[in-house]
């Protein structure tokens, strides 16, 4: 009788241990499946994630063929094939308004707004950008005092300025306006002499970004932005570059030519004291 009790007890301990082990295994298995379903991009390479070109991979664990359930190596191979056959990245939705919005700097609530009409091939525009706009970006724009809106105004006398504007607008469509604007002005002497705007732009973009920019060059919206800016400038009376319109409390004043940042700051300070 005691022997039977001992056997029953051992059997119960064994069953309980098996049940606990099974529970742990089921818990572990289900948690892995849950994580994989929540972040399907984790199966992709870090480079794909970082460049923002991560394709939409099918989540691991979903739509898993029943025949592959028991063969993990075969299963992983099949999943790898699925990852490489993913869809191409969705085309960037480009609109003139979207491009224009990506060419602004600072807060829209800033007390002073500057509408700058500029030409990438204009030496005075380059000087204004380097000695005035760049310090202003780090100072009054970053501190929320000034909101800068960039507008294209390519002059007919500059042969490649329109091309440069198109590249800059395409870069704006993918959120890369700032580095492209900077390189266009920094390397102005080179590309304005040889017309190789693309070479200059390529120095600040990755291969994937450059490909997207090149594709966007064929988009009508890129030219439409330039036309809209030029029309706006003509309406405001712009006849030379650079021209800035400083707006404060509804009053708009033109500032033409290259001005130093210190003198411009003085004007801003006096405006804001009103």
């Amino acid at each position: 009788m005691h022997f039977l009790k001992f056997r029953v007890r051992s059997l119960m301990i064994l069953v309980a241990t098996l049940l606990v082990g099974l529970g742990i295994a089921v818990g572990a298995l289900t948690s892995k499946v849950w994580h994989r379903r929540a972040s399907p991009a984790s199966v992709l390479s870090p480079d794909a994630e970082a460049s923002g070109t991560a394709p939409q991979a099918s989540p691991i664990g979903q739509n898993r063929p029943a025949g592959e359930a028991g063969d993990s190596a075969h299963y992983l191979q099949a999943q790898a094939k699925k990852v490489t056959r993913v869809k191409a990245p969705p085309p960037v939705k480009v609109s003139a308004e979207g491009i224009a919005a990506n060419r602004t700097f600072g807060s829209k609530d800033a007390p002073i707004t500057i509408d700058e009409f500029s030409d990438y091939e204009c030496p005075a525009c380059r000087q204004l950008y380097l000695q005035t706009v760049r310090p202003m970006l780090d100072d009054y724009i970053a501190s929320g005092k000034v909101y800068l809106i960039y507008h294209d105004f390519p002059l007919p006398i500059h042969h490649y300025s329109r091309d440069a504007a198109r590249y800059a607008n395409a870069a704006a469509a993918i959120g890369k306006f700032d580095p492209v604007e900077e390189v266009l002005f920094n390397k102005q002497a080179e590309w304005s002499a040889n017309g190789k705007v693309e070479d200059a732009v390529a120095t600040v973009l990755t291969a994937a970004e450059m490909k997207r920019v090149q594709d966007l060059l064929h988009n009508d919206q890129i030219d439409q932005v330039i036309e809209q800016d030029s029309a706006m400038g003509r309406q405001l009376g712009v006849n030379q570059t650079p021209t800035m319109f400083v707006t404060h409390k509804g009053q708009r004043s033109p500032v033409v030519g290259v001005v130093s940042y210190q003198i411009l700051k003085m004007y801003f300070d006096n405006l804001m004291r009103q």
Partner: protein, 186 residues
């Protein structure tokens, strides 16, 4: 030259020239003190705070890229008032020769700056009579004409102050006429 300047026609032309130069200076001073209100269409007699107008004018002076920042500020703060003073004095005719000299020197300086800037190919606003005027050949011709007129007015002012040969009598002639008149009495 002196008889012409001292004659009726000369004095009339001098008056007209003086008034034209006075108007030029007064309009220039007004435009600088009234900007940027003039751009936004505010009424003629609504002036912005002096700090605004002078700092706005400083931007136009700075665009010539000639002066260091401290000089830009100094010129922006003083030039409009100097032009106003010269314009008022020219209008009244007080000390015409000296005021005309000051006006001519100022205009000569402005003309030199405009010529230099145009020769350098800088595409800026003149700023002579407020914003919105692109610096070009017309600016050169206009400023050159005003300078010429100012020089003529200044020269005419000095010449017209000289005693006329028709009315002045040489010493020897005065003694002779005194002797003749006393002889006639006797």
């Amino acid at each position: 030259m002196a008889p012409f300047a001292q004659g009726k026609t000369g004095r009339t032309l001098l008056l007209i020239g003086r008034l034209v130069i006075a108007a030029v200076f007064l309009v220039a001073a007004y435009a600088k003190l009234h900007a940027p209100n003039a751009v936004t269409g505010k009424t003629l007699l609504v002036f912005p705070p002096v700090s605004i107008s002078s700092s706005f004018f400083a931007l136009q002076v700075d665009s010539y890229q000639m002066l260091p920042n401290w000089a830009v500020v100094l010129v922006a703060r003083t030039l409009p008032w100097l032009e106003l003073g010269v314009g008022v004095l020219l209008l009244t005719g007080i000390g015409l020769g000296y005021v005309g000299t000051v006006a001519s020197v100022l205009l000569l300086f402005f003309f030199g700056v405009v010529v230099r800037t145009y020769a350098k190919g800088l595409e800026i606003n003149c700023g002579c009579f407020g914003p919105g005027e692109k610096l070009g050949i017309k600016t050169l011709l206009r400023d050159g004409s005003i300078l010429s007129l100012s020089l003529a007015v200044t020269a005419g002012a000095f010449i017209s102050r000289r005693p006329s040969r028709l009315t002045s009598v040489p010493e020897g002639a005065a003694a002779k006429s005194a002797t003749l008149s006393s002889f006639a009495k006797n």
